[in-house]
């Protein structure tokens, strides 16, 4: 299917038991676009991100990534689709195109930073070790951790671990990068170094979907922000429009709460100086 955006999600629904957390999400993300998902906790933004990568099953709707229908093979005629669930192996193959960065980093603790990065290119893509090693070192250099190649994750700070996690995802040369609140588990002074890496990545034209609470990042880096609440997309648009002139009361409320929290932090910080 040519002409389809890189990510094309139509009427995605997801529930846990009787609790419906995604109530029909439509979203298109073009190649090279950076989209930030904003919204209060429990709004379904993380769940939606996980659905794109099939870490969660969806009950209705369709998600295409780079023209591939995620999780199923459609063998019906146009208008009357007949879906066949893909095998684990085929789902794994689909995920190779998508990099994911988690809130809790999830580095493999029994491997060094370099081994974390080399694991999937060697074992999944079957590439040559020497070549992957050079590339891993280049990636570590890129995220500013050239000297930490032989460090185990528990010898790294949270910010360093997250940067290794980004390098690990990039080593698979993904077409799309998903970030699930990448800075939420970090100490405040470590947030900047991770955002810096993400900023560079966006500047190099990577397609990114980022769930975040970092408004400054969303405003400066995103091509588009999507505000979600209660399992639906409330509004979306250019960051300057949505953040500065929200159209919906729910967006305004959320931003106001975020802003007042921000001001309290700023005031407390000013007292210290």
């Amino acid at each position: 299917m040519s002409g389809m955006p890189l990510v094309h999600a139509v009427q995605v629904r997801k529930s846990y038991g009787s609790n419906e957390v995604l109530k029909g999400i439509d979203m298109d993300v073009a190649a090279g676009e950076v989209v930030c998902l904003l919204g209060p906790s429990g709004s379904g933004k993380t769940t939606f991100l996980r659905c794109i990568n099939q870490l969660e099953d969806i009950q209705a709707g369709r998600i295409w990534v780079d023209g591939d229908l995620m999780g199923y093979r459609d063998q019906g005629s146009p208008g009357a689709s007949k879906l066949h669930r893909l095998k684990d192996k085929e789902i794994a193959a689909q995920r190779r195109e998508i990099g994911m960065v988690f809130q809790r980093f999830n580095l493999f603790p029994h491997m060094t930073a370099r081994e974390n990065i080399m694991e999937a290119p060697i074992k999944v893509q079957g590439r040559r070790k020497a070549e992957v090693r050079t590339e891993a070192d280049a990636l570590l250099e890129k995220v500013g951790l050239g000297d930490k190649a032989s460090a185990y994750p528990n010898q790294l700070s949270g910010g360093q671990q997250q940067r290794v996690a980004i390098a690990r995802a990039l080593a698979m040369q993904p077409k799309l990068m998903l970030f699930d609140e990448p800075t939420s588990a970090l100490d405040p002074e470590l947030v900047g170094e991770v955002l810096e890496v993400m900023r560079d990545l966006a500047g190099q034209g990577m397609t990114m979907i980022v769930v975040t609470h970092e408004m400054a990042f969303a405003r400066d880096v995103a091509d588009r922000v999507v505000f979600m609440d209660g399992g639906v997309v409330v509004e979306q648009g250019k960051p300057s429009e949505v953040i500065n002139h929200p159209q919906h009361a729910r967006t305004r409320d959320f931003l106001k709460r975020l802003r007042s929290e921000h001001e309290r932090v700023a005031e407390a910080a000013a007292d210290l100086v």
């Binding site: 794994a92 998508i98 988690f102 999830n106 493999f108 999944v124 996690a165 698979m172 007292d271």
Partner: protein
Amino acid sequence: MTTGSGAAIPPSTVEGGSAPLSDTGPIKAVPVRHPGRWVALVIIAIFFAMVISSFVTNERWDWPFAFQVMNYSPVLEGLLKGTILATIGSMIIGVGLGVVIGVMRLSDNPVLKFVGFLYTWFFRGIPRLVLVVLFGTGIGYLYPKFDIGPFPFSQQLAGWLGMSSDLTLFTFNVNQISSTLIWGIIAMGLSEAAYMAEIARAGIMSVDNGQREAASALGMKPSLSMRRVILPQAMRVIIPPTGNETIAMLKDTSLLMALPLSTELFFQAQAIGNRTLKIMPTLMAACMWYLVITSVLMVGQYFLERHFGRGYGNTSVQTKTDTTKTRLMGLTIGGGK
């Protein structure tokens, strides 16, 4: 600094404070005394002295003979075959099969899950001694030979079709296995697998779910993620109880004399005891061998734990060697129990 800020202490308080200024150099304090420890040490020392003196003075211990028995060639052969070889063999079966069954029990496939459960239920429910006797005498009686055909029920099918040949490709005569040791190893290994399955299952469940997700997100198939990501981390949890199981197995090999198996440490020691009427020294010889092998196993366990514990220790090299020392000390204390 803004005036009235409560965060900083005004320097004036320190200079002209009412609290008496005292020496702030290195601390040389009188430590807390522990008289109880000294009392305990004396009591235990006296007790030990009594035991040692009885070892030396009571001639019925006959230590020289005990050491002599330890070096008798039938005892050494029994130690090598019926004790060490049987432990290694049955633990290889036990760990290998146990991990497979542990993974089966956590599988999404309901058939595998049930078979795993059934296995654990059966082999954990039958006493090892009974299993050993069962395998030693039962199999050869029930199935004196195995006929191996090209497909299941091929013999029966050939019979029904009235074929001249019964399609048997290869016949395996069970009674040809003169060594009952193999049956003992199989019986112990199957029994061990039931326990190892539970240990492996606990180890796998102890790995954070985020690890599975991270592996999936990198495009790993479930089997690859299990092999490269989950199991290596589970090993850290699996190894200490496996060390326990190995030591238990070492001791349980003494059950093999019920097979019956004569090339076994305890049987040989007893046989010499019965012949020479020096029961205690020969038992002591067996005890000492068991303790020696157990100590060797504990050292092996220490190195395995260190290997699979990589990435979990303390960060700096200095503290790492410190932990190593502490653990070694813990080990020697544990070994002397």
